[in-house]
């Protein structure tokens, strides 16, 4: 497969490039008319394990950074790569190194895109290293002793507490493993995700869509993190968003610690790879609790995926504690209030939470069966009785979109007798069913609550469903085929480059013509000669340059470069060394030659007197 890919890529090269590579790697090419055969030989050369090993043994840390960027982001244009690696090496050096990698057939450039040689790509993973690109020097992760699902479930249970603000200072004690200064931002970001996923509805009072929450929590931790993250990227291509966020979550696990610039670089890389507009990745990842900032670096938060919780301990104060993680479809968080999310999770079964669960559609029998299944030993009879009574009470008044349905005589007597309520009763449909005024629901609810009755939410509100509820939300079933991307190692130390000196000796011993020998040695130094089979007396690597007092040579070269669009020149002027695109050669009235160039990468146009250029070199850069 990769053989064919390489062939296809090579076929796209122009003759000049193609034959340069063919001659370099295969030696003398007698006839240019059998390209297919030559291509097969080239592919065979790179498929040879010995040659592959030599190519890989000649990689250095600069190569490593470029290769890692391409492995992570996939094919890139050079300018994109340059943006990504900004700060690593000067632009000119990067340009020359990419050109060199291209000649070394590690990178193939077609259609201005840089791709890795398909025959080598798989092997390059062994040399790729995330740390130089994204990481920080000291790598320590942050461990939370609970799963991400439990963390989100814990936060979601707090959403139903009546409060304008989603975060309240008192919540700090519930999450003792998390720095209290970080919690407000975490709540805010998670709140945003929940809203965008249609799990929390603020319209205007906060409600939780427990069905969607249930669907969300069926995802495993990786997908859950990615799903929460996906709502912070902009883009309408759901698949790209999913893959991107999946990548982020995986790379955080792999890189463990990110430097500030590394995180910015990661953001750029993702944007390039997935063609989506990036967000303020640092804030979002901190806010989702996936990173923490400590000692000047961003540290990955590892949420422990403990073994499944064996059983709950339910104590006389109705506290529920357990070690280990809960099932994906656990019900505990629906009817218990969080006390502490830590190594031991502590919850407490409260009337408020139980009523919320019942109100939200969880069956009481389901809750009891759940408790019986999970509790260590026998369920406390006092607890069961207490829960029975709460469940019974929750059924006493049920409101169905403007109808008050009450289930016992006591409530009907109160409804019947409360003077303030009478004007809101439109009809009495049966001894226990009242038709109430929908328009004044807020008022009569207030009257009922003041009378000491506890009311659940209104069920079946079809007539005035809010905009937030009718809005289309993303599906919460994450695609099954979304796999973890191939892992790039966190840190790989590249050993110093060791050239095969026997090749140099062989070149020297062959008595080649001087120019051919120099050319071979130069190619050897540039890591283009990796095998003695490549040795042939030919001149391939001639530098096209003019400098010093060779004014005419410089004029000639500048003219030649300017005549061909996209020609890159390297200019040495005093202490300055720049890469530029040659644009035009003009003259002053005094016949002084002026070289108009666009300085890379900013493309700033400059007109430089040729006399000021100490050395002018033409570079073959067909990937720009």
């Amino acid at each position: 497969m990769s053989h064919e890919q390489l062939k296809t890529l090579l076929e796209q090269y122009n003759d000049e490039e193609y034959f340069f590579l063919a001659r370099n790697y295969l030696g003398l090419i007698e006839s240019p008319f059998h390209k297919e055969h030559i291509t097969s030989r080239l592919v065979a050369f790179f498929a040879l394990e010995e040659n592959r090993k030599k190519i890989l043994s000649l990689l250095d840390s600069f190569d490593q950074a470029i290769i890692t960027a391409l492995l992570f982001s996939g094919p890139l244009r050079f300018e994109q790569l340059a943006t990504l690696l900004e700060g690593f090496h000067p632009y000119g050096k990067l340009l020359l190194r990419v050109a060199n990698l291209r000649e070394r057939m590690i990178i193939i450039a077609t259609d201005k895109m840089l791709v890795l040689n398909p025959l080598l790509e798989e092997h390059l993973y062994r040399f790729a290293s995330l740390t130089p690109l994204f990481g920080a020097e000291d790598s320590t992760i942050h461990i939370y002793p609970f799963s991400y699902r439990e963390f989100l479930q814990a936060i979601l249970t707090l959403a139903e507490r009546p409060s304008r603000s989603f975060f309240r200072k008192e919540y700090e004690t519930l999450f003792p493993t998390i720095q209290s200064v970080d919690l407000p931002a975490i709540f805010e970001t998670i709140h945003t995700s929940f809203i965008k996923l249609g799990i929390i509805i603020e319209d205007p009072h906060r409600r939780v869509n427990w069905q969607r929450a249930h669907d969300l929590f069926l995802l495993d931790d990786r997908r859950l993190k990615a799903m929460m993250l996906s709502r912070h990227f902009e883009g309408d291509k759901e698949a790209a968003l999913n893959t991107c966020c999946n990548d982020v979550v995986c790379i955080l696990e792999d890189v463990e610690t990110l430097s500030t610039s590394g995180l910015e670089r990661l953001s750029q890389a993702l944007s390039l790879k997935h063609h989506i507009k990036s967000c303020d990745l640092a804030s979002v990842l901190l806010g989702l609790g996936l990173l923490v900032k400590a000692k000047g670096a961003y540290r990955h938060v590892f949420y422990s995926q403990n073994e499944q919780a064996a059983s709950f301990v339910v104590d006389s104060d109705y506290s529920v504690s357990y070690l280990g993680s809960l099932d994906a479809d656990s019900l505990l968080f629906r009817f218990a209030a969080l006390e502490t999310l830590d190594r031991t999770r502590l919850w407490r079964i409260t009337e408020e939470r139980l009523r919320s669960a019942l109100d939200g559609g969880v069956g009481y029998d389901e809750i009891k069966a759940y408790l019986r299944k999970h509790v260590n030993g026998t369920l406390n009879t006092a607890l069961v009785k207490s829960l029975d009574l709460i469940a019974e009470r929750s059924k006493q008044v049920q409101i169905y979109d403007g109808l008050v349905l009450h289930t016992d005589e006591r409530v009907s007597r109160i409804v019947e007798q409360l003077p303030a309520l009478q004007e809101h009763i439109l009809d009495r449909l049966s001894p226990t069913i009242f038709l109430m005024s929908r328009a004044q629901e807020r008022l009569w609810r207030q009257i009922l609550v003041q009378a000491g009755l506890s009311l659940g939410s209104t069920k079946g509100e079809l007539a005035h469903t809010s905009e937030a509820e009718t809005q289309e939300y993303p599906a919460l079933d994450w695609p099954d085929d979304l796999q973890r991307p191939k892992r790039i190692q966190r840190t790989v130390e590249i050993p110093p480059v060791m050239r095969d000196e026997t090749i140099r000796e062989a070149i020297m011993k062959k008595n080649y013509p001087k120019e051919a020998e120099e050319d071979l040695l130069e190619r050897f130094e540039e890591r283009l000669i990796i095998s003695k089979t490549q040795l042939a007396p030919q001149i391939l690597y001639t530098r096209i340059e003019a400098g010093g007092f060779d004014y005419q040579g410089k004029i000639s070269l500048a003219k030649q470069a300017s005549s061909k669009e996209g020609t890159v020149v390297q200019l040495f002027m005093g202490g300055e060394e720049v890469m530029a695109l040659a644009l035009e050669l003009t003259y002053t009235p005094n016949k002084e030659a002026l070289f108009k160039v666009a300085i890379l990468p900013q493309m700033e146009t400059r007109v430089i007197p040729l006399s000021k250029i100490f050395l002018l070199r033409q570079i073959k850069m067909l990937f720009l």
Binding site: V314, D315, A382, A451
Partner: protein
């Protein structure tokens, strides 16, 4: 994961699995540097606090040793933040030392760390109490000793108070081996341990503190044990006159002190004797809001060698202030319920002294030192004719209507019949309701308006078995010892007061060879249910479960 009974949480709470084979051994180690927070049936919670660590430091248990103990017992690797806290906080002990000075009106505060010295100098509220003596030390007026310690501890700087407590005038007496009635008298092991925990070797840093023991477990005996070890003039402050008499009776019954040595200082009688028992009420009595406290000098000028604060969680604010000035005196606070609804527990324990001893209620119950108690909550409906009245009432009125539900009378009747052999207390908040019960069942009643002599008489006949049922208001919540009472029927209470619920249960916890039953009667579907749930929190945390019965 080790097979050990302890889990250390990041919030510095320690969860002890009480069913683990090593839990008892672990508990013994924990109580040296932790406070017991709650002790329900399966998982006990302890907490490491600044105060608990400094107490440990003052007893020579340093941060490294504590860390080692935590590591030893912890099932999982303990959070580094907790270990850091232990070391950091423990290391602060000894940086500020309070000693005698050359000046008889002042003590000397030496501050060994420059940073702390600077902070003190920059804090105006502290410098009001201090005079700079030299580069390292300050002078503080003697009577401000407690106040200074309190303020510094609130800033996170404990003072190592090396000034020995003053020994008061000696008082020669012993404990009796048998009571006046000839019953053998032996101090139980936990009572003796509590006294040890307070007094230690009587060296510096010892001789003051709070002892937390369940109701009915014999805190008075711990008091007598401490008195008999110090053998000095003693002032005992308690909650009411009946409790004063109980203390006096116990002292005379179980020590060689005579009525010549033991005096009552109450509204009725003003005796100052080597052992004087008084009420908080008399200490804080004044003729008008601006007038001085007429009897506070009993506390301040009594030359007491020991002051016992009974039911210390009820310490009234004016006594707080005076207590702060009495830092040179041996002192002990007793309580069963470490909760104040005003949240001032910390101040109580800073001034009287840190918690020195605490034991889970259920543990004493299992050992038979307090009675096995079964708690029931009985719920019943409001009568139909009150439903509308309740629905239209304000929140406060609602609670009262629910509390005074007339159908509760029927429940009381049934319970009296159910416990025909038991000694029963019917306890309530509303006098009208209690009087109705008393009248209906022809029972004696004690309320705030009952003269003390009458109260004594009624308690006495109850103790003697002449009467079997007693109706009492909240005046009997605390410090009333009725050894034979085994059933309490609570027909109303002070909203959500957790300590009241526990104290009421406490009235029936004296071991008596039979189980005790506590009934809380409340109105179903009313605000009484919510308040009741709150009231039960403290007991639930001690391992008591309420069986709920609905009476139709």
């Amino acid at each position: 994961m080790k097979d050990t009974p302890l889990i250390v949480q990041s919030d510095r709470s320690l969860l002890l699995d009480v069913h683990h084979k090593d839990s008892e051994e672990c508990r013994k180690d924990l109580i040296r540097f932790c406070e017991l927070v709650k002790s329900p049936e399966h998982m006990h919670t302890y907490r490491i606090s600044e105060i608990s660590l400094w107490n440990a430091s003052s007893e020579g248990l340093g941060g490294d040793a504590i860390v080692e103990t935590i590591r030893k017992w912890s099932k999982f690797s303990p959070p580094e933040s907790v270990l850091f806290f232990v070391r950091d906080i423990s290391s602060r002990w000894g940086s500020l030392v309070l000693t005698e000075s050359d000046d008889e009106n002042h003590y000397l505060l030496t501050v060994l760390i420059e940073k702390i010295r600077l902070e003190i100098r920059h804090r105006k509220e502290l410098m009001k109490l201090l005079v700079v003596k030299d580069e390292h030390s300050f002078l503080v007026e003697r009577y401000m000793r407690g106040e200074l310690k309190l303020r510094l501890i609130k800033l996170g700087y404990p003072v190592d108070d090396q000034i020995p407590l003053s020994k008061g005038p000696p008082l020669l007496f012993d404990k009796r081996k048998a009571t006046l009635e000839g019953e053998p008298f032996v101090v139980r092991s936990y009572q003796s341990q509590a006294a040890d925990a307070l007094l230690g070797d009587l060296g510096r840093g010892r001789g003051f503190g709070t002892i937390v023991l369940p109701c009915g477990s014999g805190k008075t005996i711990v008091g007598l044990e401490i008195m008999s070890r110090l053998k000095t003039n003693t002032l005992i402050v308690t909650t009411n006159v009946v409790a004063v008499h109980q203390w006096m009776r116990e002292i005379l019954d179980k020590t060689t002190l005579t009525s010549e040595d033991v005096g009552e200082y109450t509204g009725n009688l003003k005796e100052r004797k080597p052992v004087t028992v008084c009420t908080y009420q008399v200490l804080t009595y004044r003729k008008s809001k601006t007038a001085p406290f007429a009897h506070m000098d009993l506390l301040t000028k009594g030359e007491w060698g020991l002051i016992i604060y009974d039911e210390v969680h009820m310490l009234p604010a004016p006594v707080f202030k005076v207590t702060a000035e009495l830092q040179a005196t041996f002192r002990v606070g007793f309580t069963a319920t470490l909760v104040r609804e005003d949240g001032r527990e910390d101040e109580v324990f800073s001034l009287v002294g840190p918690k020195r001893y605490d034991v889970p209620w259920i543990e004493l119950q299992q050992q038979g030192f307090i009675a096995q108690a079964y708690c029931h909550e009985i719920r019943l409906d409001l009568p139909k004719e009150l439903e509308l009245e309740y629905a239209l009432a304000t929140k406060r009125q609602k609670y009262r209507i629910a509390s005074e539900n007339p159908l509760k009378i029927d429940v009381v009747r049934s319970l009296i019949e159910r416990h025909s052999d038991d000694f029963i207390l019917i306890i309530g908040q509303y006098i009208d309701q209690l009087e109705e019960v008393a009248e209906l069942f022809e029972l004696p009643i004690i309320t705030g308006s009952t003269p003390n002599a009458k109260r004594d008489e009624l308690y006495s006949v109850f103790r003697s078995g002449e009467i079997r049922i007693l109706v009492v208001s909240k005046v009997a919540n605390y410090a009333i010892d009725l050894p034979d009472a085994s059933v309490a029927i609570q027909i109303s209470g002070t909203f959500g007061s957790r300590s009241e619920e526990a104290q009421r249960l406490g009235r029936i916890l004296r071991p008596k060879g039979r189980s005790s039953f506590f009934y809380s009667v409340i109105t179903r579907y009313s605000s009484e249910e919510e308040f009741s749930a709150n009231r039960q929190k403290f007991l639930a945390e001690q391992g008591y479960s309420y069986e709920i019965e609905v009476w139709e």
